[in-house]
Point group: C2
Chain length 364, copies 2
């Protein structure tokens, strides 16, 4: 098998007779392409598929960004499972999004791209599964925004999955979460290169996007993880004064570096759209309770949270778990002790790895 | 007594023979003005003075921003005490700072203004006390950055105060605190109207400053306080689509409003400088321990923290308290149960009010 890094995504162009694709907002897409990776092989019974759902800044190359979880011999074992991962609708890694050409104007959508809902993303994934001849999944699994999609799968396509694995996620954002998104969006839209979202043909709001990402990184890390990573170490350079802007704490250099790297691979309009997607996500919207929102689901649920995650605190996963119990669903909840914060789901974690491995194995 | 709102500050021009004022960084100020308010009267024995120290965005008008604590009949009772509050060095509410004219260039300092240390601020306050003929304070009291100054008073001028009252503060910032400051500073410096800090004669980086403030506000509030204030209420306006940028969560409108208000009264260069002042503050720097850093202090200490303050968590106040105990100082520590977050020190809080009232009364 070639290394994950070298694999490019495959692109599926949704056939004309399946279009337009109408979003929950009522807006329509008249062209739709889906970037995806598959790893491993679909067995003859077509019964070994696992759908991996990426988080906000992920892409379809799950073996790269989730190297601890996806690959030969890994918990989501590509020697056993046919693993599918696609870039979300509105994304910027191959699937139709703000940088795509709007066939009605022959120019990039930019900021006029409709805000997808989590359900819209999941509906596109279901079309892709049809295309790949996969009727039923062993599991839909994802962390953070990927977990929201795993939840939505259980609600929208209850017959198409045996299990939903929801990691470091939530049924809806807190006002604090939304507040951080507001700051990030304003940083992007205040950048003069934002140009009202019309920038895809001439650069983009890199400074604003970089600031939004720096803020994101703080929220992904626990305070303890930040102490471990940086302490209060000061990196000296420039002016030799003991109190000057030529001196930086290590955390400053780190965030700056993270911000700068990010703008090379991510699209600012996607940042705006997908943060709004998450802000609007509310799993129990239209129901009287969370319990009721789960009523139509028939799959098993595995809920995993991390003690030091302050972005989507473990209490929110516990609420999910309790609602699923009240709804008499089959549910396993594991709160994993770690000091790494929200980031934990992307990092090596033997407890999470063992749990997911066993959970999938039991449902093969 | 006229209302607090109507009182303008007094301005003290530091006499030439006391200048230049040399900062810890080695840089020198050749002109220095201090904006201050006094409330109440100094008694004949000159023994009833209380110094109030403002936080990051405060000013000298303590009766306005700390209306719950300062005034006739209030805990810091202006019928009993001679209350002094001055705008900090580097501030933007009357005391010499970035918007002041640099006598060497006849233009505003802008970003070339030196970064003051907490000790520099306190040394300017001590000069003001000399000018006001106050030798010894009943207390130096402040919250947040004001608490850092109260701590520094106890170290730098141990003979000039009977007590140091440190509320919702810390002996040093965490990497997470510094990270939030980094994001705010970058938002300001990325605004094209920042112009390298040379903007005092033609507008300023209002968008960047507003973004920095929005972020600050999130960190001042607890998650629970945000739920209470906003829930997940959506404010609809503009486009009628269920998922659009014409719709906002209430938290978005609130933060936007806070940011917009702030830029009318605050200076961007002061924002940069004073966040660096706090980043560099480390009370035990140069000592082997926090305990040792307190060794030379001879005053009583009252440490107050709030359970839901996640900016300067209560654990940091507990560390202060323990170090003071080990240093065999007279210390009272009160962790106050509240769900209002860091903001608590500025809000009505009977427990804090009663405590400070009694503590000052016992030291009259």
């Amino acid at each position: 098998m070639s290394s994950a890094k070298q694999r490019a995504y495959q692109l599926w162009t949704v056939p004309k007779d399946m279009l337009p694709f109408q979003l929950e907002s009522g807006e329509k897409l008249h062209e739709l392409e889906v970037a995806y990776h598959t790893f491993g092989s679909l067995n003859e019974a077509r019964s070994n598929a696992v759908l991996v759902l990426h988080a906000f800044s992920g892409d379809s190359n799950a073996m790269k960004w989730w190297y601890t979880m996806v690959g030969p011999g890994k918990p989501i074992d590509t020697d056993k499972y046919f693993v599918i991962c696609s870039n979300v609708l509105g994304g910027c890694s191959g699937t139709t999004g703000p940088a795509s050409i709007n066939p009605q104007t022959n120019k990039p959508y930019g900021f006029s791209f409709p805000i997808p809902s989590i359900r819209d993303m999941v509906r596109v994934q279901a079309l892709l599964l049809d295309h790949l001849n996969v009727k039923k999944l062993i599991a839909a699994i994802g962390g953070s925004m990927g977990g929201m999609q795993a939840l939505e799968w259980a609600k929208t396509f209850p017959d198409r999955l045996k299990s939903s694995i929801v990691i470091a996620s939530t049924t809806r954002l807190s006002p604090q979460n939304i507040g951080f998104h507001v700051v990030g969006r304003n940083a992007i839209m205040s950048d003069p290169n934002w140009n009202g979202g019309d920038y895809h043909e001439h650069g983009g709001p890199k400074k604003g996007l970089s600031i939004a990402r720096m803020l994101g990184h703080i929220t992904f890390l626990s305070e303890e993880a930040m102490y471990e990573k940086f302490g209060r170490k000061v990196r000296k350079h420039g002016r030799n004064s003991p109190l000057s802007f030529g001196e930086e704490h290590e955390v400053e250099s780190y965030l700056w570096h993270q911000g700068s790297k990010f703008v090379e691979r991510f699209d600012a309009a996607t940042y705006l759209l997908l943060t709004k997607t998450m802000d609007y996500f509310d799993f129990s919207d239209g129901y009287n309770s969370l319990e009721e929102a789960f009523a139509a689901s028939s799959c098993d649920f595995l809920i995993i949270s991390f003690t030091s995650d302050w972005l989507f605190p473990t209490e929110q996963s516990r609420d999910m778990y309790r609602a699923l119990l009240r709804a008499k669903k089959s549910v396993t909840f594991s709160e994993i002790e770690t000091n790494k914060g929200h980031d934990s789901f992307l990092l090596p974690n033997p407890e999470m790895e063992d749990l997911v491995r066993a959970y999938l194995e039991a449902r093969r």
